[in-house]
């Protein structure tokens, strides 16, 4: 095998799969990436057996073949090379020579047939996203995912498709974020739902660069795929059932408090400084005309701040995790948000005035 490729193209391709490559683990070959050749392009793929990524890059293929190379080392080398053409040649015994300008490197490879085969994925697009839409949906739900990797069903984003609409839901059991968007072009059909593992979502975010291009989502057997031009991310499906999130969204929260997002965000950040380190609880005392945010701990001290709101009705107090509320406030784009409450023991639904299709729920804490 012999290939000539522009160094910056090569570096870009190698960089895209770095996040997936496993550096330590039982199978040494997973720390390598596989480079294959086609007519006038090379394919770069990596996998950690949970997710895999493959991308194609234009290159001058002199003779075809397959090689594996240590991903980390290759990346480090390419980064330091001058912006010239890289010449890659495979020797007989799996060794690879890289030449660029006056530098020359020899790297050991592994037998390419030992590399786990790329999972079979479907080209049939189930859902077509624009980059902008996909990015927004992920950004507004991703923060709510559970960091606990053993709670399998909560460790991924739920993607639902129903009647020309698409939902994305993330939850960790204490809070939940759900976003619904209309699809530009989509056939009507039965409700379908998929769980996308957290790691796959993180890799997907890296792939979204510009806002113009589009992503298509497909599913086959045990694998999900996101296809973006010449790039594919494939993820194994999580074996688990996402909780029935519709049940959790409160429908009879009569108390609606409209408040300026920016003002609340800053006030809450200040008060949260003295909130209990572990629970991050801040007390929201809601009266006609204002909310009093209060944090009171014996070790740290007490903080109190008033925020003007448009509300007139009975007084209610609720304890909420400041971090959870701040996470929501930071992803909402509108000026005004609405806190929908019932009483101090019921969950708090946060919506924004301009976007009825985005809802976020934070469970209360005992005062």
């Amino acid at each position: 095998m012999e290939v000539r490729i522009d160094k910056d193209t090569f570096l870009n391709g190698v960089q895209k799969v770095q996040g997936i490559v496993e550096t330590k683990g039982a199978m040494p070959i997973l720390s390598h990436l596989l480079i294959t050749t086609e007519k006038d392009r090379i394919g770069i793929q990596a996998t950690d057996l949970e997710i895999g990524a493959k991308g194609y890059y234009a290159a001058n293929v002199i003779s075809s073949g397959e090689v594996t190379l240590n991903a980390r080392k290759l990346f480090d080398i390419l980064r330091e090379l001058p912006s010239e053409e890289v010449h890659m040649i495979r020797e007989d015994n799996h060794w690879i020579t890289l030449k660029c300008g006056k530098s020359k490197f020899r790297l050991p490879g592994m037998p390419a047939q030992d590399f786990p085969p790329f999972p079979d994925f479907s080209q049939d697009s189930l859902i077509q996203f624009s980059s902008k839409l996909l990015k927004e949906m992920i950004r507004k739900t991703f923060f709510a995912l559970s960091p606990d990797e053993t709670r399998q069903a909560l460790n991924g984003l739920l993607l639902e498709k129903e009647n020309g609409k698409v939902n994305m839901v993330g939850t960790d059991g204490h809070r939940l974020a759900v976003i619904q968007r209309k699809l530009e072009k989509s056939a009507k059909g039965d409700k379908q739902s998929y769980l996308i593992p957290k790691k796959a979502v993180a890799e997907l975010l890296k792939l979204i660069e510009d806002e113009e291009s589009s992503f298509s989502f497909s599913s086959k057997n045990n694998h999900l795929a996101f296809i973006h031009g010449d790039q594919v991310i494939v993820s194994r499906k999580i074996d688990g059932k996402f909780p029935n999130y519709q049940q959790v969204i409160p429908s009879d929260n009569k108390i609606q408090v409209q408040v300026d997002r920016d003002v609340l965000q800053h006030a809450l950040k200040r008060v949260a400084l003295l909130a209990d380190e572990k629970s991050k609880m801040v007390r929201f005392d809601i009266q006609s005309g204002n909310i009093t945010l209060a944090a009171d701990t014996t070790e740290l001290g007490a903080a109190r701040e008033e925020v003007a709101v448009s509300y007139s009705g009975k007084e209610v107090s609720i304890g909420l995790n400041a971090k959870y509320v701040l996470d929501v406030l930071s992803v909402i784009d509108d000026e005004e948000i609405v806190l929908n409450l019932k009483d101090q023991n019921s969950s708090c639904l946060i919506t924004s005035t301009g976007d009825k299709e985005y809802q976020s729920i934070v469970m209360p804490m005992r005062l």
Binding site: P116, E149, N222
Partner: protein, 339 residues
């Protein structure tokens, strides 16, 4: 037929084959029985059978990529956990909670390319209590398309909550003929020569365990047997000098002492078996039958049993670092009393 690669163990093999044919495989197995009798081999073969592309899910073929990858331990849906020493100087290898958590994380995905994910926990009794407890939930309700196989040589060391969640299959010590077949093959592939008379002796004295039959010093310790029989026969309050002399020679070999005492234990056991005339197949030192018969005729059964107890107690004492010389002297005093 890959199950046929397992020699002996007809009963476990029969059970596994039948469940595979009926297609009702339990979510968790516990394979237990003495060390080195084929438990792990059977577990690996079961994994191969479940994922085989040719003859699965009834048996493995050893030829398809799936079977090959499981044999090479590179199959993405095959997990084998073994206890690890936390540092090179650590005394015992243990299975820690991190390893179990890592496994749990991997099991939540659907299979990568195979039909069924198989997780084998070798030496499951080496799990520390934290690891075992963290495993309970997964073991009770594993993710779909997953089977978990625990392997233990001593199931009584496992938490009862683990055992009750698995279907247990007992593996028995191998027959002498089977051992002979296995070690002939292994020795031939290693050194290229196998001396039939030594093989016979090794197989006889293996207690049904392949690893024991292959041990380097198995034959070496067997050389002590002549002396030991002499001692059993002659030691009495009048001839204590024999005992003291023996202790002077062997008392210092602390690294060998356990295996020498094992030999003594076996000899007393064999003499007792001869005395009662029951089950001659249980005799491990067949080559010394003529000497053992003399001992059996001379001693009473009660005396032999007392001796057995004495040796056993000494072994335990030495394990807990008791003074070797004193313990051995005490043991021979017990011998004298018994005689």
């Amino acid at each position: 037929m890959s199950f046929s690669r397992i020699l002996g163990q007809d009963r476990p093999k029969h059970i596994l084959k039948k469940t595979l044919r009926n297609g009702c495989i339990p979510h968790a197995y516990l394979f237990y029985g003495q060390e080195s009798v084929g438990k792990k081999l059977a577990a690996v073969e079961l994994a191969k059978a479940l994922n085989c592309e040719v003859s699965g899910p009834v048996d493995g073929c050893d030829g398809c990529p799936s079977c090959r990858k499981i044999d090479e331990r590179t199959h993405p849906d095959f997990f084998l956990l073994e206890p690890e020493k936390s540092s090179p100087s650590a005394r015992d290898a243990i299975l820690k909670i991190d390893a179990i958590r890592e496994l749990q994380k991997k099991l939540i995905y659907l299979p990568y390319e195979g039909q069924t994910k198989v997780a084998i926990i070798d030496s499951a009794e080496c799990m520390n209590p934290q690891a075992a407890n963290s495993f309970l939930k997964t073991l009770e309700e594993p993710p779909s398309k997953t089977i978990i196989i625990l392997i233990a040589s001593n199931p009584y060391q496992l938490l009862p909550t683990l055992v009750s969640r698995c279907q247990s299959i007992r593996f028995y010590p191998l027959a002498v003929e089977t051992i002979k077949k296995i070690i002939t093959k292994q020795l031939e592939s290693e050194t290229g020569d196998a001396q039939p008379e030594l093989l016979e002796l090794r197989a006889q004295r293996s207690m049904g365990q392949v690893a024991r039959a292959m041990e380097e010093d198995l034959l070496k310790t067997s050389e002590y047997r002549g002396d030991l029989i002499g001692l059993i026969e002659q030691v009495s309050f009048k001839r204590m000098d024999l005992a003291f002399q023996w202790i002077r020679t062997y008392g210092r070999k602390t690294d060998r002492l356990q295996s020498i005492l094992d030999e003594l234990l076996n000899l007393v056991h064999d003499a007792a078996v001869l005395k009662t005339n029951r089950n001659p197949r249980a005799i491990q030192n067949k080559d010394l039958t003529h000497l053992l018969e003399k001992v059996a005729n001379q001693k009473s059964l009660a005396a032999l049993l007392d001796m057995f107890d004495a040796v056993h107690r000494t072994k335990v004492a030495l394990k807990y670092n008791a003074n070797a010389q004193l313990s051995l002297e005490n043991m021979f005093l017990n011998f004298c009393e018994a005689a």
